[in-house]
Amino acid sequence: MDTKYLFKRNNVWWVKLAVPSALRSKLGYDLRKSTGESDIEKAILARETIISELKKKFDEFKISPEEKKSTAPNNVTYLDYASTTPVDERVVEKMKECLTIDGAFGNPGSRSHLYGWKAEELIEEARCNVSKLVNCDPREIIFTSGATESDNLAIKGVAHFYKNKGKHIITSKIEHKAVLDTCRQLEKEGFDVTYLDTDEYGSISIDQISEEIREDTTLVSLMHINNEIGVINDINEIGDLTRERGVIFHVDAAQSAGKIPIDLCNSKVDLMSFSAHKIYGPKGIGALYVRRKPRVRLEALFHGGGQERGIRAGTLPTHQIVGMGEAFKIASQELEKDFEKINNLKNRLYNGLKDMEEIYINGNLDEGYPGIFNLSFNYVEGESLIMAVKNIAVSSGSACTSASLEPSYVLRALGRPDELAHSSIRFSFGRFTQEQDIDFTIDLVKSSVNQLREISPLWEMHLDGVDLSKIEWAS
């Protein structure tokens, strides 16, 4: 007789159901309910109904007994913070004060009335908040529509302004598209661009840069934290070199501002791009730091009402700027706390996955930014993996889901074979990620990779000891 889930107490049969480990803190080790029957056969008949009742209890805590579900409201755990972040509630509150008739909705450019003055005051306060996070003078901050515009303004602005001095620019192969495509555009205009190679971890050495600087080099543009693999460039060391050689240094800090310390006063960076939405601010707003001493000159992209000292014309969007200011202010206060939390989450994820066979870390595990963790799962194709782990929101290094079928250019630049570049996943976490989300991710990724490997002919060949690189593939 099948007495599973049943036990007898005081001559009555009870149902006992084990609580999934994630719920034990709330529900204890098991849930029990009496069938009210002393006859085992009747108890067995009643068992199913009671089990489903008890299981409903689990559902109330969003977790079914068979499968741990995500903590996110729609059951999809967000692990794509490097792509964008949710806006912090505290930021939203500040932004709300700049929109309606009873708030600071005025045009900050209006010098003739209170509405304009109020808006201007809030903008200057936000400018101060932005400058404090990176330790610079508020007058060195120019608001833009985002890091892409900042990159365009910095690179085209310098290239065009200093074109009589020289037409050579240095950047790297793993920059963001906002930098790479801007450089491509300048090449069409007759500029000469050097794209530096990186080593297998994504690092660029100071000697490499030094060797490429020529008489006619006007600009070096390198990112602070790489958005795909989290590798960090030593911008202080590079700044010392570029200053010594009389070259302007631009840094794309979209991924780093508010995540790791930046001290512009004590470094020789000349231009730095910022974004608000990567650090819990709104989308559509960013800034460019433009050094005053020694002064860096730029040719403007937009012309109009002379806002932002003529470098970036256009009515300033008060609510966006205030949102960015508040996000940067919070980041100044919480940077260390956020970093420690994120570092712990990364370690938790790494420890949970590290025993899997045939996985490869892209980037530098020990020295990179812990909020970006990029892994390749050999013998599994990236897009199918993304489909299989649909309960977590992550990015694939394989651009198979977009219009092109090319694997990530960043992973290729690292020298990863195409198969591994195709099979990568970028996990990125942030302020609102919880340990539970990581545990859920570990389980889901492990089981999905195992499932996909079971149906992968390449995994089968690997287990058979076939060297895949020796096979002549007909394609």
Binding site: E381, L405, D418, Q451, I455, P457, L458, W473
Partner: protein, 144 residues
């Protein structure tokens, strides 16, 4: 890019219950291995490799595909296309299977234009598997 529900369903069923979806293989030494034809198409660097095996028997003088198995490395639609191909193959005669065209898979799964190559891969896989079976078959006849 959004896949059709059919691709997603096929993909998920295959993952959840690979045996029922005919994931597997016959390897040398297995009983009946001489009745199996194998086709491997695609390349890891391109992101797709499909391995299809068909098992054929002589039924009333006609060569029929009595069973088929596959393994696929590739995107969701490549995996779904392989599964779809398997469904279409079983019970067909070899001559009928030769007529299978990628367009049928495209229509059934509602594949987006950028994923049509997955169905082409499936068509190539069945052609190659049949070819392999027939050349083995010729060798067998020759040896008899």
């Amino acid at each position: 890019m959004a896949y059709s529900k059919k691709v997603v369903d096929k993909f998920e069923q295959t993952l959840k219950n690979p045996k029922a979806a005919s994931v597997g293989r016959w390897k040398p030494g297995d009983a009946d291995f001489d009745k199996v034809g194998t086709g491997i198409v695609g390349a890891p660097a391109c992101g797709d490799v499909m391995k299809l095996q068909i098992k054929c028997e002589d039924i009333d003088g006609v060569k029929k595909i009595v069973d088929a198995k596959f393994k696929t490395y590739g995107c969701g639609s490549a995996i779904a296309s392989s599964g779809q191909l398997i469904d279409m193959l079983k019970g067909k005669t070899i001559d009928e299977a030769k007529e299978i065209c990628n367009k049928e898979i495209v229509d059934i799964l509602e594949l987006p234009p950028i994923k049509i190559h997955c169905s082409v891969l499936a068509e190539e896989a069945i052609k190659k598997a049949i070819n392999d079976f027939e050349s083995n078959d010729n060798v067998r006849k020759h040896n008899q």
